[in-house]
């Protein structure tokens, strides 16, 4: 190995949590001027490794050296001073401050002991110009899209004389154009000699920008590979630890949906956020919702579930007229929603897996009919097993699980409540290959059991795989409905593209 070029080296890093060895002697080498993918399934130890590098966790063993000097980052500030910056999936800047304030937070240019606002704003503009961003730096950060916020976070990280830039799933909520511009900037930074660690679940993106790949599995190092000489298939088998059975791509027999009884119907329904549209789901049918980010997929889920009220039009459940003004009524009527933003709207962080799972069922039964503890445990154990949730204990707080496992717990929560119609908003976002396949499998099973499903997703291949019908959204309007054998990625893409956007 060319040691001259080594920027950050981890040797034999160990991190244990009560009952779990999260990292078991992991090596990781980042060279100057490279983009290095860190891959692995949920719970493989990627997040832990990153947290050890950035000082969030203290390692229990092993060595870390930066430019051949051993380092012991005690906290994130420490790591930043050493030159290790991190940009997380959920941008952790301050949304209510201005762009410039965020860029210079803690490093504000001073004049006579006071902040020199004019200089700060000017320097912020210059800094962002380097990223081809022309923004109003005095506007609050949250007036910009997540993609822009992510670029701002990167600019901040790099401006603090970063040698190592860690990007933890930066592309999870970006659309294709935004991803492209992010990659462009990543390549520019690489050419300046910065080492970039790139964590993602999108394997195509790995091959688009990465030079080398390190794969972890179950807290141990699987290997380090040159991206150019590792096939995608081999990569996946390294991640899963088994040769990938050839993915089943043949389409399922489409339920002859229209002949069955309608489970749920919207007729000319409109909410504050959506223009009038029709929608119908039958039992045992999967309706996919396609469209770009912000096209109205999430808003449609919210409308069906009663989060956003119906402004006009009609909704029917089993032929009965219904009007949900809040989620409670929808839940009582037999609906369930796995929300898009798991952390914000889904999990009860400090509460146990068991409590998270029984919550919906308990609410349906009413507060006075408490589910006996024995039954709670049985239920939780059953779903942990059935959905292959990786945990040592059902009493573990859910916020200690990885994203994919959290998603499974939320799915279990609704399955336990036995709904008739399930809404899944981006059920596979931020989830690795293995869990991804399992969740899609689950969607099919549920459908076979006679559940009606509405699934919003930004991944077309997955929509094509399981949908009996796809509704395409654009600019908060339904622009197409594709069903049966017409459902192809191409057809959906055409509908999404439709005509050039007005803006």
């Amino acid at each position: 190995m060319n040691t001259d070029n080594t920027l950050l080296a981890l040797r034999g890093v160990v991190k244990t949590f009560p009952g779990v060895k999260a990292l078991d002697g992991v090596d990781f080498t980042l060279r100057k001027g490279e983009i290095h993918a860190l891959l692995g399934e949920n719970g493989a130890g990627k997040s832990t490794l990153i947290k050890v590098m950035t000082g969030v966790y203290r390692r229990d063993g092993g060595d870390i050296s930066l430019e051949d000097k051993p380092i012991h980052p005690a906290n994130t500030g420490d790591a930043q001073n050493l030159g290790i910056s991190t940009v997380y999936q959920e941008v952790n800047l301050l949304p209510n401050l201005t762009v410039a304030q965020n860029l210079f937070l803690g490093l504000e240019p001073k004049r006579f002991g006071c902040i020199d606002w004019r200089r700060m704003n000017r320097e912020a503009r210059e800094l962002l110009a380097g990223y081809e961003l022309d923004l109003d730096v005095t506007a609050a950060l949250n007036t910009y899209s997540v993609a822009i916020q992510q670029l701002i976070a990167i600019a901040r990280g790099v401006s603090m004389s970063a040698k190592v830039l860690i990007l933890d799933e930066p592309t999870a909520s970006l659309d294709a154009d935004e991803v492209a511009s992010l990659f462009k900037i990543m390549r520019e930074l690489r050419d300046k000699g910065i080492g970039i660690v790139f964590v993602t679940h999108f394997l195509d993106q790995v091959y688009a920008v990465c030079d080398r790949i390190t794969v972890l599995r179950n807290g141990a190092l699987v290997g380090e590979f040159e991206a150019a000489s590792l096939s995608q298939q081999d990569l996946v088998s390294h991640m899963l630890g088994k040769a990938l059975e050839k993915a089943v791509h043949e389409k399922i027999e489409h339920a002859d949906a229209e002949s069955r009884d309608k489970l749920f119907e919207l007729k000319g329904a409109r909410s504050q956020a959506l223009e009038a549209l029709d929608l119908s789901v039958s039992a045992g049918q999967v309706v996919g919702l396609a469209g770009l980010l912000g096209s109205g997929r999430t808003e449609l889920c919210k409308l069906v579930f009663g989060v956003d009220g119906l402004v006009a039009g009609d909704a029917e459940l089993n032929g009965q007229h219904v009007r949900f003004t809040n989620p409670r009524q929808a839940v009582v009527a037999g609906l369930g929603l796995c929300p898009e933003d798991r952390k914000k709207d889904g999990i009860f962080g400090p509460m146990s897996i068991r409590e998270n799972m029984i919550m919906a069922l308990q609410n349906k039964r009413g507060w006075w009919r408490y589910i006996p503890m024995k039954k709670q445990r049985e239920l939780a154990e059953r779903y942990v097993k059935a959905l292959k949730i990786a945990t040592s204990d059902i009493e573990k707080p859910i916020n200690q699980l990885s994203g994919g496992n959290q998603q499974k717990v939320i799915l279990a929560r609704w399955l336990a409540a036995e709904p008739r119609l399930m809404l899944l908003d981006e059920p596979t976002r931020g989830i690795d290959v293995g869990a991804h396949a399992e969740i899609i499998q689950l969607i099919r099973q549920l459908c076979a059991q006679g559940l009606g499903l509405i699934v919003a997703s930004s991944e077309l291949d997955e929509l094509v795989e399981f949908s009996d019908k796809v509704i395409v959204m654009r600019d908060r309007r339904k622009v197409a409905e594709v069903s049966g054998n017409e459902i192809t990625q191409q057809r959906i893409m055409q509908a999404i593209a439709g005509q050039p956007q007005a803006s």
Partner: protein, 334 residues
């Protein structure tokens, strides 16, 4: 047994309980007769009983406060609600109401009404709890003064005074009241799903809403319960002195109640709660006061010593502090 292997519940209990034990042992060192309990006329007397009895009002407040804090709120009005309930009961007695049930019922109703106002503002109008309850904290004393027509109302009513000075099963009645309230609320929270929902609303209000939990009603309920607990505490205080003093009844006790809950290890952000630990917290505060009195330190140091002791207790509970402490130990060994 290894600390890491303890169940989370036990691990959380260890520090407050240890803190209380340390305080009690300190008291024994200062005053060897501290633990001695005498029986006179079938009644228990002794410093320990005294600690329990005097801690009763704060312990009652802490029960209600625990639930409010578990939903991520806070109830600043409990001290004033104590004054209102005391004034209502005293007013009923002096206006000639004889039935003890009516007198107590009147006080409880006043507490419930106050809690309802708080809960409605917080739950249904989304006003920040600290602001919503600050209103009643200030206005509540005014209400109590109005009821008393600006006077200190004294009364004599044997049945009602039993609340404050009576004995049952050899124990002062306030202690019995705390036990009954604790058991009732504990049953209500843990034998039904209410406790789960309270913790859910506190842990993530948005997720609760998405599941269909009636978060507004849950909030309304906890503030109502807090109001009821405060009314009970207020009536004990009034019955104890045989009078209602709108200006001083329950003054600053809301802060002791919040402190008791925090010492019990609850997070002000909401989520997990333990009624038992909050009561331990209330006992710690009272035991500390007694320690200071027993130790013979001039009274002017009381508040400072209390503050210092509480800082130590809270630091011992902070995982971050214990981590730092462990690091220092490691460093010295190395």
């Amino acid at each position: 047994m290894n600390y890491q292997n303890l169940s989370p519940q036990l691990r959380r209990s260890i520090w407050p309980v240890a803190g209380l034990l340390v305080l009690l042992l300190t008291n024994v060192l200062i005053a060897p007769e501290f633990f001695s309990i005498e029986i006179k006329d079938g009644r228990l007397y002794g410093s320990l009983i005294d600690v329990l009895n005097r801690a009763a009002p704060v312990a009652l407040l802490a029960i209600g406060m625990t639930l409010v804090i578990a939903t991520g709120g806070v109830d600043l009005s409990v001290g004033s609600v104590m004054a209102i309930a005391g004034a209502v009961s005293a007013g009923l007695i002096v206006s000639g109401v004889d039935s003890v049930f009516l007198v107590i019922g009147g006080g409880l109703l006043a507490g419930l009404a106050a809690g309802f106002v708080n809960g409605f503002l917080v739950g249904y109008f989304g006003i920040q709890p600290i602001v919503a309850t600050l209103i009643l904290m200030v206005a509540g004393r005014g209400v109590a003064q109005l009821i008393n027509s600006g006077q200190i109302v004294t009364f004599h009513h044997e049945g009602f005074e039993f609340l404050g000075v009576g004995y049952l099963f050899g124990l002062p009645f306030p202690i019995i009241l705390v036990i009954i309230t604790f058991v009732l609320v504990q049953l209500l929270m843990r034998r039904t799903a209410l406790g789960l929902f309270v913790e859910g609303v506190g842990a993530n209000a948005s997720a609760s809403h998405y599941i269909g939990i009636n978060d507004k009603l849950i909030k309304l309920m906890v503030y109502c319960l807090s109001g009821l607990c405060a009314a009970l505490a207020g009536m004990i205080a009034a019955a104890d002195i045989g009078g209602s003093d709108a200006n001083n009844a329950g003054l600053w006790l809301e802060l002791d109640a919040i402190l008791a809950v925090v010492i019990g290890g609850a997070s002000l952000m909401g989520g997990r709660f333990s009624l038992f630990l909050s009561i331990i917290g209330a006992l710690i505060i009272q035991a500390l006061t007694i320690t200071i009195i027993l130790s013979g330190v001039p009274p002017k140091f009381n508040l400072l010593i209390k503050a210092a002791a509480i800082i130590v207790i809270l630091l011992l509970q902070s995982p971050e502090f214990r981590r730092q402490l462990g690091r220092i130990k490691q460093w010295r060994r190395a």
